[in-house]
Symmetry: D3
Subunit: 176 residues, 6 copies
């Protein structure tokens, strides 16, 4: 039995998770239920400390890990993925960093196209309220002292508080 | 309460885990018991497909994850760590990729020196039988068709079988 | 007799060729006639799979090679050139990747300035109808299902068809 | 006595210095007086030959060095600093390239935030007339044949003349 | 008809060609005859100026191109290939730089293993006298003023003479 | 008058300076006297924390700067130079990081060959007692608690003491 066969029900989803929010959790809960195992790839892992990418890969890892524990999701691998900025090798880079998977969930046209050309099965991620839950909106509210806590899992808010995430995002804002 | 204080009992250990063996498991079980949470850093994550570094970061992640599940260890973060080949920034790179930690376990002189200069608490990893359990010895036995399975957790042997790890390591041997 | 003297009538032209079009062919035909040998550098070789850089270096190599064969041009070296993103070393990078040359044809201000400072002879490329023939226009027509085939050599259209180039460029369009 | 203590009155300022102008000199003169020693970091050292970053690190080094000699400032280390494009390791990169320092002068929000998180003392640079003295304004005047010489130290104008800096900046302008 | 099908008789061979010798020519002549088209990948393209890698990619390109012309081989694409030093993405890098191919000729265990895992057809290159024809032996003779010209095609000797290749290899020898 | 003419008596010397010793000082004093200005390039600037490259570029900068002050040498530019690991572009990289120079002093065959091919004037550095003064010997004595202080300028010993250089080099020794 080939490796691919064994992992035919294992899946991958990649996001920047800046920060991880309730929409992400909803999607991951559903993919987790539909999969044997799943990989959550933390994209653009090497970037941090900008208004659009405020959190390090390690901080994002902690947000996701604590949230999954609270949510009782225990079949997900969390893997930081550095960008290589060379699209033609991106799929094989992702594959090398992750436990094996056969299915890719993505709305991103580039991700979909690259995995399609590499022969992977593509699925549309479960739908959620994208106008309410978006990283951009969470970061905007953080900058404007509006309510961002209702958009993220409690564990995420705790991580952001513990690292003074609001201080960081406000401290960076003039530059971008 | 600062982040560092909150994480004063969180720890880090880094290895190449080529492959993960019983000695690694013994060490991690003890560190896991002594820590609130711990990070297992998979070092040299971008390297694979050589006789000394045969397995990808993703394959090593799966070996460790499956083993920890079997062993009932549930407070470990597994994080692939790419080498930057620039020692002066290595600590801050590791820190950025991992959930926060305060204690570093290492026998490696470079790792110890770099974290020491950066002000981290260093501890000697728990002792295990290093002449019996070593990645070098496991790989040697794989090449020579000797018994390597008794040196690794069952989950690791399963992963190696599923990816034809013996075929890979033998297929690479003439070159190195 | 020095190397430079021997190659005083050898020339270089660099483009991204996304894709190679009739204007490119016209220019190269004339430079080819004016040169002993010429290098066609495929710039930004490592980039692909975006709406503005859809094709890999290898696909662009094939477009050019097949076109030159059809056109009976047999004194051109085709060389993919990766960007180093460090202008001060760019000329020596290009020089190291190409057979020797003495003359550079370019309309690009940066290319012209860098080769000028390095002491190369610069010539203006032969004129062609730039409003009709441009990579941007070809890609726009591909996206809009307008006639792009009349803008490119037949061999280029064949390559694009064989790799489902239209599918790729349309599959990527939402992202850029 | 620790290294940090010994260098508690040594400082760092980082700029792109494209080119070095009278405002820079004013700031550095005051920091130089307030410090035992200071490092002048030439940021984005690997970039040059664009309208916004026309000069190489070596050319900028010469502008600063000649100016400091004329101004009688003799306690400054000039250090080109390449960007690593990975903010989380930037502070340790800067630290590794510079003689030791304890104080950082900066108006840049990213620089301030990164050194703040790393535990450095931050000070606001001395004030100068920012509407009159700015690299952008100097480069604009160079392009438009307006008076730029009155905005820079004489030594800087001499370096720019000796490398045909005006020719370079005009030669590049169409591209950006 | 898929791209892969169309190119089922197109092949790839990769070498460092330091320098290109009669054994290489013999192999390429036979592969050329057995293939519709073939790619000759110039490996380690970014390295030069060491005793073991004396020649630039551009110089090696010229050696091969001139030799193929003399030999009447006209179905080969010559492509410099930079090393990425990351084996898991190496195949997709090579694929992105080359016109499409389905068959790989190699004696190198790493190359064979990587293309095997990626699903390519592997063939053993045609046999030639490896004790007589080897890059190591050619370079040794160059250093020792022994007869190296009989080991390489005439066009290669001409290129080496024109760039003072003997001067270079001797000028570098103390260092390695 | 061209830039090159103006700088015809400016020179460059590159070393790793691990650490800077009396032989280096002797050489630099003589070159300094023979030159209008000189650049001291700190090679392999990004490497540190190994037994053979223990000191950071910034630490080496401080050793040299303090020594030159004590020695009354005031016409030297000190410039950290990162390796690019691509020999064909190395000269243009060095040139871009340094104030202009025309003469290169070197005993290193690679450095000499690369600058020779780029058309620079090469000179042999002044002779000194190489068996007594060498970085290797200084580091060996540091490891063995033998007298290393007599081999280096006093300012260098002070820097090494202030950063616990002996502790670092001993702390790293088992690994290499």
């Amino acid at each position: 039995m080939s490796l691919k066969r064994r992992h035919e029900n294992d899946s991958m989803i990649i996001g920047r998770f800046q920060p991880f929010h309730n929409g992400h959790l909803e999607v991951i809960r559903k993919i987790s239920e539909a999969s044997d195992n799943m990989t959550i790839g933390i994209g653009s892992a090497q970037y941090s400390h900008t208004v659009n990418n405020p959190f390090t890969a390690g901080e994002r890892y902690l947000m996701i890990s604590d949230t999954l524990k609270d949510a009782g999701i225990d079949n997900a691998y969390i893997v930081p993925m550095e960008d290589l900025n060379r699209h033609s090798v991106w799929v094989s880079h992702i594959v090398s960093m992750s436990p094996p998977f056969s299915v890719v969930y993505s709305n991103n046209t580039l991700t979909k196209r690259l995995f399609l050309e590499a022969g992977y099965a593509l699925k549309d991620p479960p739908v959620y309220n994208r106008s309410e839950y978006s990283g951009t909106e969470v970061r905007r509210r953080m900058l404007c002292d509006e309510d961002w806590r209702s958009l993220v899992p409690k564990a995420v808010a705790d991580v952001i508080d513990s690292i003074d995430g609001i201080g960081r995002i406000k401290g960076l804002k003039d530059d971008f």
